[in-house]
Each structure stands twice: as structure tokens, then as C-alpha cells.
Symmetry: D2
């Protein structure tokens, strides 16, 4: 049994890690930190985390934690994660960082979007962007994962086959995302109170959301040239789920006309061995409800000939494939476990 | 007191007309039709329509209705409305048709998208597209209104200032719309049952939704050249509201650079005298919850310089500004009433 | 035009007063207070309160307010209201207090349940409990209304005909209430955040909720003997509405057997002239959705012969009949206006 | 691997069985029936049931099914189940019937509440009421389980310790239940359409709900005398969950006064070895959200001295502990598996 610690285990991402790992046969959670709730039982805060009746929140003391675990999941706020990742990594631990701190390889871009400098460049260079569908080989060999953001996961998985295979013109990609409210985190905040969110729907962070450079970094790498995208997030009155609707003009170079069948076929080929990606049949489109509580990403593809546009829709659970589930998937790969270990539950529908 | 009849008064659009007209001081509803519920009291089906305790649903008998009312609101299914509109109009009544039958001036386009021919061309030519913000002058002089669709209302109002003033390149406009479930109508249908819709979110009708030609017709008229758009509707787990997020590339011709301030100023100027349009301050974006139950359209504008894109977000209540409220607004204009009569309620928030 | 001030106008009760009074033809809101938002425009916080574009929140300065208005609605926290009510009342203003401070005539009971002494006994004696269906005559003659609590309104209206007419044994009444989340107030609080409330349902305050003595005071007055009740509130994942299910054993004294028809008839008789009470037909029961946004109370009655129990279900909108709407109703009565002025909107359904 | 068939596998109970059994290591689903969807793939209807990519719905042909499986879960409508249960049971299969057909041992009561006679008395006598917390010993020895109803499960588990130990007067028990909308089944029905249910709440079937005699049968057996109860179900605008609030007068016979601590202690003692029951600490009450997707029943107990009433609140997931999960639990017991096999997932929170 691998001993794991979860740093930042009283937020929605941290508790989702606890939920998933409770059924992982090869892992034992030996420490869970929370500054505010240190000293309290996990089940006192979360009656649903019944399997952890003996686990008590402790403060984040790196030296103590070092002795308690071998794999560290860090679900700390951006900025706060920089030092913690570096510390555990330098101490030969396996680290999966769920913050944004180690996702952007370009420190200038990081500083520009997050407003702080990156102080651990040597460690940053070791980090692998933990999207298994692209970086599986590198993930196998690393001890440090920058776990992707929730929106980037949905956008990159939706676009990867098209961009990698040159199906679309990458100059004017539109990414319109809609996320459940857990994406805003667990906090006392009027803006996420029930009566403000329920029966409402709105866009936010238009043109300035911090997941933009992460999406651009990965799409640029796939396209092998610098891509700029329009990314607009919206907040849905549901607990979980991200649905991303993507628009990209079909590239018309070449002699063979792109068709719905060919586009769909490319998607199916690219993802045919992926355990957590489902490319839906032609004419079927994803619903966040069908992936709720799972690590699956459902993808629907539609080539609209009238407008010469490829429209791709992807759906994930932001807390699972968009955070905790993908983190466990990365751990499974790094540890040599079956990739789906702990992640085989079907969606809770309805 | 004007006598009005509502044909198709047991669906969500029809009952919304009843709700709004109950507080209209110059109008009395003298007939309400429903094939299925003929003979039943309105309040037996809808306990909330308390003001209509003496109104009984009757079958749709045009000859009888002719004697009962002077203004006819038709909330009938597409196709079924063609003949009814023609009949009441030829009999010198004032007609507001909430179906799509008289919205498309080009009958080929109508036949192509709706799958049936238009059999009343003479009457069709008399119809005015009932978007007061564009056609107020014509509405004043007509007796026949083709009341706009819900999605087109949100899209056209969002784009009108930009398209009319040549701010944007109209070749690649993206319209990503999200609608509350009342948009699907009042019906016994597994697809709109609570447990299928709740906590879910999905796109539908990608590339083929019937509101597409209606949007294109009006934008083309504004731009004075033929425009094709990508329009993708989604279904939200809320009762009411449409939020439309629109993407259009800034047109770079001319010497003066477009800025956020100039773009917003153009929107404010265009709508400054409109009683039901609110252009929100820079950095503020609409929420469907803020227009719920009202005839308002809230619009937010953001010029993203990184991508040279104008992003516009509009919010309406699909049953009010997107249907019944706009119909009453049109009636007010035609009858010479104060335009806001019956439509002054503030949003029910929360 | 009567000048009114709303003290505590940035909570859900205060904004509901603003919403309702915006359409009241005989009233003008001349002041709105908010400590936290003093200096801000009402529409900056609440874009839906469009009719108040020139109203700016001000701090609660009684001396200044005195000059600004003649009728004062106080939507302040319990305790804070004691002094404010006394001040405005002694200065000859008309006061409608929406807090609990002047509802309990027995100061010992008040101190026991609210944890503070009452310091304004002389003023307390002048207060009339503002339930028009019971105290209309007194309301007409007073200048000081203690506006009833939301749960008590639903419970007392549900029980009044039965208790007053001796239909039920009052020794073991059960009141099981379910309230929308606006009942918890507008605040940054994890407990009312969307992801905690949505898809959840729970009881709270079992046996200790502060509305208990208010219900008991009024039922005791109706029964002319001291009544103790079980009252259990629950929180619903909806914005608005209280549904109260009440159980009381049928009193079997007398020769004439109580029947469903007789019980319903008594309810219909008692409420036949009430503008805001609807007793539903036999076999029909209320739904909070049918009274949303209105001042109506819907009541359903069922006599269960198997168990000799009268079951009564009442539904109100907690922010309207349970707070702001009832306050306006009380004002209308005190001012001699038509009782339904400003309160004639039908429910927003769906 | 045990071969199991699910008859009626396209409703919410049937699909929940599929969801749970997908992760059961000792069971393989070899047949799933659906009249309407016969011939279609399970995943064509339910994209979330990803693990069943090769399973195709078949019509209900008992002779064919007999050869395909050893354990039969029947999720058929009431009435339709009578014959099917009898057939499979007589053919030496293990049968778990999720309908009400074999729950009531008294056929007169069955006929009275369900409106049809019971035609298989010999088989009926063999059925064991499948509530493991009461009938575990009998379940071990039977091949025929009448799986309890959802409401009865929540009510009986809430009351069992109190009734069995004589804590309460059983003459006037009130059971006020609130259920998620999946309880109404998967169907095209206006009454359960999103816009009718969402933001609404209502009682239904007051005094006449068919789960009443089932609750009374089991409570009577526990009390060893005939008990009649008031049972009122309500419909919640959530997918899953039943919260039941129970009121019973404390029995005052005996010398030792009942206290909160003693009452709670009795509950803890009764359930201390139960794998799926959690008695919550004093002052903590259940929330349906904490048991969502699980086989747990959370119970909170409050003795209200003011009114001499024991108030018990229980929460279950109606589709799991109230149906499919309890069915699997019963199978585990009958087959000698670990009781929690396939049922160890923690709740999906949020």
C-alpha cells in the first residue's frame, strides 16, 4: 500500500481525492491537511467521507508530512504551491500538484497571468504536464506532475485530434466553456451563495481568465506554432461538470475535402486506446450529466458545411477528469498500476 | 378595453401572455383556446393564473373567435399558424403571430428549414418582423406582426449595433446560446423530464437549428450583404432565460483603432432611448437571473485586444422578451399605448 | 405619494420591498439604508432593480431619515430593530417592523428565545401583529406593525380556521415546514453556498427554532388556551417558498361527525373574503411554485378518516406573504389604500 | 461469477442496478430486459453505462431468461411482477423483486391498496421482506426477497429502535417524507417535466399513498400490536434522496425519565454493527446530499422535552438504499458474499 498525503484536503478538490482514493486498493491516505480545520476529524466536516473515520486534519507542516507519505497530492492555492512542490520533490517524493504553479513552462507568461514570479525554476523544468492522452510516456518517467486545469483539460482534449492533424485553421479558435459551481471552490462567498447562482447563468473573466495561457501553451505545442485563442468561461447552476463548445474553421488546403465522417474518424483513431475518452457517434453530443462523478471525457464532433466550421463539444466532471481523477490517473501511470484503478465507477445518473 | 384572444393558451408562451395581460390596464382577454383542455377552467390547469377565474378554454374555432376579439395572439405550432394568421388578418383583425410562420420573407428558405411550403404569400408580404428596436416605425403601421424567435431576439439585439456600424467582420460570427428549459415547450417528453435535465447541460441542433435562417435574415439586412453564422443552442437546467455569447472579429479597416470604450459607446448610443435594453457598464456582464420575468435585454460588451475579437453577451427571459413580452410590446406600439404598459415589473430576484 | 424609507435594503427582504414598491402607484421610496453598501447605487448591487437608478444606499442615521419619509419599513436584524422602531414610532412615524422584535407580547418569552431583554415596553404594547386575516381591524388603527415571521404566517394561516372553530385537538399539533434558501438571508456563508444546498435537503433547528413561540402565541390566542406545538423547519434547494404540512387530531366531541366536506367548507367560509388566501378544491394541494413572487397563500385540506387526523398544507412565498408583501399589505390597510395595491402580480410560473 | 438478469432495466431502478453491479466483482449481468427498447444497446440509451457496451436490451421472455441467469432482479411495475416472480422462483432461481407485489403478507390489504388480487399465495408465503437490519437471518435462508419500498425503508429504519424498545407511544406516529423526483420513475409525463418540478415543492397522495400499509405492517410487527400511521410524501426538486421526519410521543410509563442521551444511546446500540446505518451525533441531522449514490442510511434523533416528542430524521438515497442498493445488499447476504460488496462507494458530494 502506497502512503499518500493530501495537502489542502478540505476543499472540493481535496475531498474529491479522498472520495476517489477510498476505493483505490493500492493506496492509503496517511495524512490530510487543512489549516482552518486542523484537529478536526474529516468526518466531522464531511459526513459522507465515512471511510475516513480515523483521519484527523493536521496543519501543513512539510517536515512532519515528509515522514508520513511517499506520494503527495497538493491541492493548495496558486502561489502557495510553489514552495511546497519544490520541497517534497527535492526530498525525493512523488508530487502531483493540482495548482497552476507548475503548468506554464514559460515563467514570464506565469508572472504575467498570475502576478507573481516563479522562484523554483530548476524544479519547474522537471514538471510534466499531466494530460495522459498527450504526455503518457513522460508521465511514466517523472516524479513531478503539474495536473492540468479543468477548463484546459476539456479544451485541449476537444481540440487535440483536430490541431495535431491539421484539420483546422488555428488562427481563430473559439472556446466557449460552461462550468459547474464547484469550479469556484469551497468558500463563504456571496457570489457563490445558492440564491445568487440558482436559476442564473453568466459569463465571467471574459478575455482574462488564467486558464487561457495554459490552453494556448498546449495547443501551440500540438500545432507547432504559436496559437492565440478566445476562451470564455461561464458558470452553470449545477454542482459539477464542464461542457466546452469549440469552433474552428476547417483548413481547406489539400485536395481531399474534409467531411463529417473523416473528421469523426480521425477523432476515433486518435482516442481509440484511451480508457477515459469516448468519442460519441455522429449526431450524438455530450451531456455533463453522463460523466458526473467519473474520469471520462465525452466528445462529440460536427462538421458544419454551410459555414465550413468544425464544432467540437467535450464534457468532463471538473472535479474528476478536471482535477482529482486525472491526478489519480497520473499517479496510477507513475506507479505502474492499472490506469483505471480507483476510477472505474460509472456516472451517477440521474 | 381592447378585446384580445390567445390561441394556444395552455403552453408556456400562452400562459405567459395570460400572466402579463392580467396586469395590462387597457386589455381584456376574452378568449383562450386549447384543443386538449377545451371546456376546462384556466385556473384548473394553472392555479397561479388566479385573475382568470372565469375564463374557460375553448377549441380553436376561427369563426367564433372572430366575434370575440379584435387583437389575436397566436401561440400555435409552426405550420398550424399559417392559415390562422391569414384568416384573422384577412378579416381585418390585428394579429401577432408567435410562431415562425411569418418570420422568413424568403419562402424557399422557409420551406428548406421548416419542411413545408408557405401557402399565404400575399399575407406573408404584409408581415412585419416584430423587433421594435429595429422595426418600430413599421410596427406602428401594420396589423400583422411576426413575433421574433427567442434565440434570434437575443442574437440580433446583441449584434445589431456592431453589424449596423460596421465594427465587425461579418464573415465568421459565432453565436453560442444557452436557453432555459421552457424553451422546449410544455409537454410530456422524457427528454425534458426533471431527472434528465436537472444537473445536466448539453448542446443540441448543432448546425441545423431553425432559428439560424432567422438570425441570418436580420443580420444580412443590417449589414446589407448576405451573412452566414454559426449558431449553437444549449439547454440549461433553469426554467427561464437565454444567455447568448457572441464572437466577431473586429474590422480593422479605417485609421481609428477600435477600443473597448468606443465599442461600448456605440452600443450605448444605439440603445439610449430603448425602454427595454440596458447596456451594462464596462466589465459588467449579464446574468439571466437579472432579467427573469421581465421584458429587458441586458447586454455586456468586451473588446479583447489579444485576439482582436469583440465579445458580446446578451441576456433575456425567453418567455418574455423572447416571446410573450415582446408580443405585448408590439401590441402596445400598434395600439398607440405607452410602450411599457403591462411590462413594468422588475425581475424576480432571487 | 407617500414617502417611505427602507432600513436594511440590501438583504433579500429589503430588495423585495424595493421590487414590490416600484409598482405601487401611491408610494415613493425616498431612502434605502445599508451599512456595508452606503454610497453605492442600488442598481450597482442589484441590476434587476432598474426602476431605482437614482437611489443610493445611505447609512442608517435615524435623525436624517426622519426628515425623508413618513412610513418606515425596518428590515434590520433582530435586536437592532428594537431601538429603531421605538425612535421612529415616538417621532410619530408609521412603522412596519419586519424583525421579530415586536412580535412577542410576552417579554420573558422574547428574552428566553432571543437571548436579550426588551427595552421598549411602552412601544411594544402599541405594536399590532400584522396578520391581516386575523388582526385587520387593529391594523387599521395602529401606526406600528410587527410583521409576522415567514414560518408563522404559513402555520397560523393553515391552522386558524381549524383552531378557531374547535375542529382539532390542540394538544399535539405537528408543524413540518420546508423553506426556500432565501429564508436564510443574503450572506457570505459556506452553509448557504450553492454546492452545499443544491441537490440537498435537511432539517435544522429541531425543537429550538425561534419562530416556535410566535406560532404558539397566536394559536393560543385563537384557541383561548395555552398551546405548545412541534415545529420543524427544513431547507429546500429552491430560492423562494414555504410549504407547511400540519397534522392535528380531529376533535371527536359533539354529535356531528367531522367530514372532509365540512372541514373544507369551514376553511372556505373563514377565508371567503380574503384577497390573498385561496382554499383549494378537495383533492388539490398547494405547490410553492404556484405562489412564487406573489402575496398569495394557497391552502389544501385533507381529513384522513383512517387516522382521525386533519392534514393541512399551506404554501406561501416566504419573501412576499412571508415578509415584504405582507408588509405592503399592512401599509395598504393602515393608509386606507386598496388592500391589493402593488400586490396584484400573478405568480411567475414556471 | 454469478449470472444475473435484470428485468425492467431501462427505468431508474434498473439502470441503478446496472450501475452498481458494474463494480461488483462476483456478479455478471447476462441479460437486461426492456419492452420498449428491445434490440437497442444499453449504451445507446444510457451513455453513462459505459461498462455495458456489449449488452443489448431484450424483451421479457421468461423461458429464454431462465437459461441465461441464476439470480433475477425484477424491476417491473406492480402487478406485472406477480407472475414473473412466481415463475422464476418455482424454477429454482433466486429472485429479488423490487416491486410491491410480494411485500404485503396480507392479501386483503394488498388487494385493497393495489386494486388487484394476489394470485400466487404459495409463493407469497415464501417471500422475505428484504430489510437486512430486521430480517438478516431470514434473508440468509431464502431464495425470494420482497425488496422494501423507498419510503418504508426510510420510515422503518428511523422508527425501529424506538418502536422495538417501547420508547414511543405508537398511537399517533406522524411520518412526513420528502423524496427526490427519481421516485416518480422514468417516464414522459408533464407532471415530472423539468419546468413543473424545478423550484417547486408539494405534497401528494395525502392519506392514500400505497407505501402506508407496508410501513404499518412492519411497525406493527415490531410493536407486536396493530399500528396505524399518518404518512405524507412530498416531491423535492432534486434527483435523488428521501428525507423522512418522524414525530412520536415519548411513552411516559416507567420510572426512568427518557432523555436525549438515552434515546440516542438506544439508537446507537441497535445499529452498532450495521454496515450501512450511521446514527449521527447529538445535534447533527442528516442531509440527503451526504448519502447520494450510496447504500447508507443516516439517522438523527432529537428528544424535545417541551413537547414530550421524539423527532427522528432519516436520510437515504431512494434509488440505492431505497431500491437497487438494498437489492444488491440482499443478494450479497443470500449468496454469502461480503455484505458491502459493490456498495462501498462514498457519496458524490457535492
Amino acid at each position: 500500500m502506497i502512503k499518500t498525503a493530501i495537502c489542502g484536503a478540505s476543499g472540493y478538490t481535496g475531498t474529491e481525492l479522498l472520495r476517489i482514493l477510498a476505493n483505490h486498493p493500492k493506496v492509503k491516505v496517511t495524512a490530510a491537511t487543512s489549516e482552518r480545520s486542523a484537529g478536526k476529524k474529516v468526518t466531522a466536516l464531511f459526513p459522507h467521507l465515512d471511510a475516513y473515520d480515523n483521519l484527523v486534519y493536521e496543519p501543513m507542516d512539510p517536515d512532519i508530512l515528509l515522514k508520513k507519505a511517499d506520494v503527495f497530492f497538493l491541492a493548495l492555492p496558486h502561489g502557495a504551491s510553489q514552495e511546497a512542490v519544490d520541497f517534497f520533490f527535492r526530498n525525493n517524493k512523488t508530487v502531483i500538484d493540482l495548482s497552476a504553479d507548475y503548468r506554464l513552462s514559460d515563467t514570464e507568461t506565469y508572472e504575467q497571468w498570475y502576478g507573481l514570479p516563479h522562484r523554483y525554476l530548476a524544479t519547474l523544468k522537471k514538471a510534466v504536464y499531466g494530460l495522459p492522452e498527450i504526455y503518457r510516456a513522460k508521465i511514466r518517467k517523472t516524479r513531478l506532475i503539474a495536473n492540468p486545469g479543468c477548463y484546459p483539460t476539456s479544451a485541449i482534449l476537444g481540440l487535440m485530434p483536430a490541431v495535431k492533424n491539421g484539420l483546422v485553421n488555428t488562427a481563430s479558435i473559439i472556446i466557449d466553456s460552461k462550468s459547474g459551481t464547484t469550479g469556484a471552490g469551497r468558500k463563504a462567498d456571496l457570489a457563490v451563495s445558492f440564491c445568487e447562482v440558482n436559476e442564473g447563468f453568466k459569463a465571467y473573466g471574459i478575455g482574462v481568465h488564467r486558464h487561457t495561457p495554459e490552453i494556448e501553451q498546449e495547443l501551440s505545442a500540438l500545432a507547432k506554432n504559436r496559437i492565440t485563442v478566445n476562451f470564455t468561461p461561464h458558470i452553470l447552476p449545477v454542482d459539477r461538470g464542464i461542457l466546452t463548445t469549440i469552433y474552428a474553421p476547417i483548413k481547406t488546403t489539400g485536395t481531399k475535402k474534409m467531411t463529417q465522417d473523416r473528421a469523426l474518424d480521425i477523432y476515433c483513431q486518435v482516442y481509440k486506446d484511451e480508457p477515459f475518452i469516448r468519442v460519441l457517434p455522429s449526431g450524438v453530443f455530450p451531456n455533463i450529466k453522463n460523466v458526473r462523478g467519473t474520469n471520462f471525457c465525452h466528445i462529440g464532433v460536427k462538421l458544419v458545411e454551410r459555414t465550413n466550421t468544425l464544432i467540437i463539444v467535450s464534457a468532463i466532471d471538473n472535479l474528476v477528469k478536471g482535477a482529482a481523477g486525472q491526478a489519480v490517473h497520473n499517479m496510477n501511470i507513475m506507479m505502474g498500476f492499472d490506469e483505471t484503478e480507483g476510477l472505474r465507477n460509472l456516472a451517477l445518473f440521474p
